[in-house]
């Protein structure tokens, strides 16, 4: 039994990017070249070489030795900066362009959506474009016939289905285009950023449709710049950088690699070596970790769930009153808040020597999506003396959900704000009084 959907090995793609500058050319050379070159080019062309001047061209590897395997039913995100090779990878996998070296094996039918509305013709009506676009994307005519009403309803363009699409608003145009694409039933779906279309409501619909696609056991490859969308939709992500696979694994980990490659996003830090332990001869920090309610130590936390910040420390010198605290800093370096240990027993009483564990719970539905770094610290009071402080000791990533029970409700776009509390809303309806 073969449960592999896509197997990619050593995939590389070279592009020619313009000619290198040549020095010491005279007009005579240029004239001679102008005369001879067409013949040379024609000769090379007939021998099947693409560009006559290939050897003079500067080349770039858009993909270099990319290997990975995707199992059937997996939903995988592909992220990376501009020019990382994401689009090239999708184009190679959709057979639009061919690799220079390496190979890919694809098990099953593929539909790739590198653009919404490819092949739409502005002079044709919505109905005609549906059939044309469907055929281009690989749908059979009777398949479109069968889904016609469903597609039209999804796109919400019932009234205008026989109007040429050049009279459509851009929103209608995109909705219709996406609706056709969303009704494809391939075994493998390759999508490039097409979700950046339409209004929020429609985005939500598309995202839901995509989630359904994933749940139907279809394999999905999803390229995006929208990190929260990737973490919401794809359990696994591949990070490309300069044509190479830089990271491949659980989305929250890969996204955190991408977001803060200089800062490690780790849920736990322990100091076993005495010489490295932060602190002094009064108190030492032994460990700090991020926990869920279930006690699991994890970087990825659900936006709805409380997050436990647990500090383990050893008091070496008895008789001090301690202040245990931590700062929470977001990706932009903004200090979101600071929290102090307010345990009623210890906040006023000197402590005896020994090991302590203090845990603070950040409530669910407070932090927005994103990565947060924890800077723990311990001071002694009277006099106020700093004892230890570890910048960005641990971090966690908050992942929002599309279930509708979070602060974003049904909105799928970028929700700004430094916190994201779930507030109690109440809306009243009052009949308008008409005075006559």
């Amino acid at each position: 039994m073969n449960d592999i959907a896509i197997h990619v090995e050593g995939l590389s793609k070279k592009f020619y990017i313009g000619r290198l500058q040549q020095k010491h050319r005279t007009l005579r050379d240029n004239l001679a070249d102008a005369f001879v070159a067409p013949f040379r080019r024609a000769g090379k062309l007939l021998r099947g070489q693409t560009t006559g001047a290939a050897e003079l061209d500067e080349t770039i590897w858009a993909l270099k030795d990319v290997s990975f395997e995707i199992k059937r039913g997996e939903v995988v995100g592909i992220i990376g900066g501009n020019g990382a090779g994401k689009s090239t990878l999708l184009k190679v996998l959709s057979r639009i362009t061919e690799p220079t070296i390496g190979f890919a094996e694809i098990h099953g039918t593929v539909a790739s959506l590198l653009e919404v509305g490819t092949g739409f013709h502005s002079e044709l009506t919505g109905r005609e474009n549906m059939y044309l676009n469907g055929a281009i994307l690989g749908m059979k005519r009777d398949e479109i016939d069968r889904k016609f009403d469903e597609i039209v309803a999804f796109a919400e363009v019932e009234k205008f289905i026989d109007t040429p699409v050049k009279h459509y608003s851009s929103g209608m145009y995109l909705r219709l285009a996406f609706a056709v694409a969303a009704h494809l039933e391939p075994e493998i779906l390759i999508i490039d950023e097409v979700l950046a279309v339409g209004d929020a409501n429609f985005q939500k619909k598309c995202l839901n449709k995509m989630q359904d696609v994933g749940q139907e056991g279809r394999t999905v490859l999803f390229v995006s710049h929208n990190m929260p969308a990737v973490t919401r939709l794809c359990p696994r992500t591949i990070l490309l950088n300069k044509g190479k696979v830089l990271a491949d694994g659980p989305s929250h980990k890969v996204v955190s690699v991408y977001m803060g490659s200089e800062k490690a996003v780790k849920a736990e830090r322990k100091w076993t070596d005495i010489t490295e332990t932060p602190g002094d001869d009064v108190v030492r920090l032994l460990a700090i970790r991020v926990r869920t309610e279930d006690g699991e130590i994890t970087e990825a936390v659900d936006i709805r769930k409380p997050i436990g910040i647990e500090m383990e420390y050893e008091v070496l010198q008895p008789g001090h009153i301690f202040m245990i605290y931590f700062h929470v800093v977001n990706e932009e370096g903004v200090k979101v808040f600071t929290s102090l240990d307010n345990d009623h027993v210890w906040r006023q009483n000197p402590r005896s020597a020994g090991d302590y564990v203090s845990t603070a719970w950040i409530p669910g539905n407070l932090m927005p999506e994103g990565i947060f770094f924890i800077t723990p610290g311990i001071r002694t009071l009277n006099p106020n003396t700093p004892r230890l402080r570890v910048a960005d000791a641990v971090a966690f990533q908050v992942i929002d959900s599309l279930d509708g029970d979070t602060a974003r409700v049904d909105f799928t776009g970028d929700l700004p704000g430094i916190v994201r509390p779930l507030l109690q809303w109440k809306t009243q309806f009052n009949h308008r009084k008409i005075h006559k």
Binding site: M1, S94, R95, I96, T97, F103, E105, I106, S112, I136
Partner: protein, 278 residues
């Protein structure tokens, strides 16, 4: 063990040298071929005042001009047939050929966006372009039937051969288009070559004059231009001119076939770079 899968396997790897034509894949996408041709037909005369009349105006007015200058003034022989119908019977397949060539040669460049964003057998694009011309052909052919009635020509059983001659025109048009459309992707020079070539080709085809002006063996060699076979075939099948097609026709058919096959293989060979170069 779960059920044994029977999913299709596609292997993507660099291709070198000549490729097979992969006609099976092409046949599988015949619906796409149909929709592309249908789109070309639907869109061609959109936002024009005269609309579909253009399909008739082009060959008809060429016929009028030819009749005036070549028929009346130059008194070019027309094998005893009234010059207007003599030239129009040739202009109908010629217009089909020339328009097909023109449209199909620019078809890939015109579909750059499709090529860069979706995979399907690229051959479908020029083929659909040439096929879309069939509608124009039918319209101008209806006029030809009218003219035949007017001049009192009634077709013999020879007319049964007509589809073959149309097929020959299609083969020639497609063969040349495959070469040019593939070349046009990298060398836009092609775009400027085509009007010039069409004009040159028009006069090397017996449209304004009869091929009987030539004697053997030149007449047979003349058949290397497949449009000679097409035009002579049309005249013979419809107007009953001269001798039935002979050796020259075989030469024409062979030439057209060579053009088509070589064009298709060349196209397949260049195809892999289309998305990168276009």
């Amino acid at each position: 063990m779960t059920k044994i899968s029977n999913v299709s396997l596609t292997v993507i790897r660099p291709k070198k040298g000549w490729q097979t034509l992969n006609l099976k894949e092409l046949i599988n996408c015949r619906e796409l071929l149909f929709f592309l041709a249908w789109r070309d037909i639907k869109v061609r005369y959109k936002q024009t005042v005269l609309g579909v009349a253009w399909a008739i105006i082009q060959p008809f007015f060429t016929m009028v001009i030819f009749s005036l200058f070549f028929g009346r003034l130059a008194k070019i022989p027309s094998e005893g047939i009234p010059y207007p119908i003599f030239s129009y019977a040739a202009l109908v397949p010629w217009t089909f050929f020339a328009n097909g060539l023109n449209q199909a040669s620019n078809s890939l460049v015109g579909s750059a966006n499709l090529i860069k964003k979706v995979y399907f057998p690229r051959l479908a694009i020029p083929i659909a372009s040439v096929l879309a011309g069939v509608v124009d052909f039918i319209l101008s052919f209806i006029v030809l039937i009218g003219m035949m009635a007017y001049f009192g020509f009634f077709p013999t059983y020879n007319v049964l051969w007509l589809p073959l001659f149309l097929l020959l025109a299609l083969t020639t048009s497609l063969g040349v288009s495959l070469w040019f459309s593939a070349l046009n992707v990298e060398f836009r020079d092609v775009r400027y070559t085509i009007p010039f070539l069409t004009q040159f080709w028009l006069f090397s085809t017996p449209i304004a004059y009869p091929s009987s002006l030539l004697s053997e063996p030149w007449k047979t060699i003349y058949g290397i231009n497949p449009m000679v076979g097409v035009v002579d075939g049309f005249r013979w099948a419809l107007l009953g001119t001269s001798t039935p097609p002979g050796l020259a026709m075989i030469v024409s058919a062979a030439a057209a076939l060579i053009l088509l096959i070589s064009g298709a293989f060349y196209f397949r060979r260049m195809e892999k770079n289309f998305a990168d170069v276009i």
